[in-house]
């Protein structure tokens, strides 16, 4: 007897189509699928964990309000990340350049060694600060690649560049961050 096949979860594109056709439950599934990666992306972008939830909600709300503008050329997730990135930029502008980094609230590795904990905390602070100092395109490519695991082709489609350029931005970002973190 063959084992029962695993139920195939609908693709993002299928869920978006269903939502456009009036199926509200499709939105629930999309939120469940993307809220956590979106939170991760936002916190990596310099948003405090306490504010991340509000921004995740805002990004998803905005995405559903303009869902007709999503073309399946880029993945739904990277499109969401772009909306979230714009929100971060707006917040950054509102705060006149001060980022929302709140290192104290971050989850740090559980070290028994206080010195190691301090070192890790210090390194995280420098990395978070370094991310805010990267040019926007470099930062977005880096965060999409590292947090979203997004391929260069998709990043290129999302950010309006070429896969080759996205790769160069990623490599530059890593090099620059290493210098800033040292």
């Amino acid at each position: 007897m063959n084992p029962r096949p695993e139920p195939v979860s609908p693709s993002d594109a299928a869920l978006v189509e269903a939502y456009r056709a009036g199926d509200q439950s499709a939105a629930t599934l999309l939120v469940a699928r993307h809220a956590t990666p979106l939170g991760r992306f936002l916190v990596s972008s310099g948003v405090g964990p306490d504010e991340a939830e509000d921004l995740v909600q805002e990004a998803l709300f905005r995405a559903f309000r303009r869902i007709d503008t999503w073309r399946a050329e880029a993945s739904f997730r990277s499109w969401l990340f772009t909306i979230a990135g714009n929100l971060v930029k707006d917040e950054y502008r509102k705060r006149r350049g001060r980022m929302m980094v709140s290192i104290e609230d971050r989850d740090l590795a559980d070290h028994n060694d206080p010195a190691a904990t301090l070192d890790a905390k210090d390194a995280e602070e420098r990395l978070a600060a370094g991310l805010t100092r990267l040019p926007r395109l470099q930062r977005e490519v880096f965060l999409l690649r590292v947090n979203g695991g997004v391929e260069y082709e998709e990043i290129a489609a999302t950010l309006g560049t070429t896969p080759g350029a996205a790769r160069v931005h990623f490599h530059h970002a890593v090099k620059r961050l290493k210098e800033l973190v040292r």
Partner: protein, 172 residues
């Protein structure tokens, strides 16, 4: 394999969606630059972990509630437009048909002036005594003066040419 190739693979391995091949693992063990890159990628992923604490259930309900409210607002806005257009169309139709209702709907209906009910206000006759009343009547019965009212020109003495000239000036 180059350091660049390995860097491209790092996010995939860091996310747990792949593992190092033997060649990659050997390169990583020997290359200081790549080990630094790898440490940075892992650290960047750790940085985002706090973002995983978001309450997905709460976000779901809040997003759906906001979307429902926005849809309601959209419907009301659209309804307002439709009502406004309908009212404008009704006004346009009435104007076109020349059938504008009185502006004061609660007041008495006004009637258009007609020959039958047209009247000129006159003095209160009830207050006049008999002699005065007689005088008024005689005055009314008396023929108009031969010359007519002073402000009306008497054209009787004008010849045809003069009359034609007056008519021409009246017509411009």
């Amino acid at each position: 394999m180059t350091c660049g190739d390995l860097l491209d693979r790092m996010p995939v391995v860091a996310a747990g969606r792949g593992s190092w091949s033997a060649e990659e693992a050997a390169h990583l063990a020997e290359c200081v630059e790549c080990r630094e890159d790898w440490a940075l990628i892992q650290q960047a992923r750790t940085l985002g972990q706090a973002g995983e604490r978001v309450d997905t259930g709460k976000i779901q309900s809040q997003v759906l509630a906001r979307l429902a409210a926005a849809r309601r607002a959209d419907r009301i806005r659209r309804g307002g437009w439709v009502a406004g257009l309908a009212a404008a169309a009704a006004v346009a139709l009435m104007l076109w048909r020349g059938n504008i209702p009185p502006t004061n709907a609660t007041g008495p209906a006004t009637t258009a002036p007609t020959v039958e009910n047209f009247s000129i206000p006159v003095a209160e006759l009830e207050t006049l005594d008999g002699g005065q009343m007689q005088a008024v009547l005689e005055n009314l019965e008396a023929p108009l003066s031969a010359g007519g009212t002073p402000d009306v020109p008497n054209f009787g003495d004008l010849d045809n040419e003069q009359l034609q000239s007056i008519l021409g000036s009246m017509e411009g």
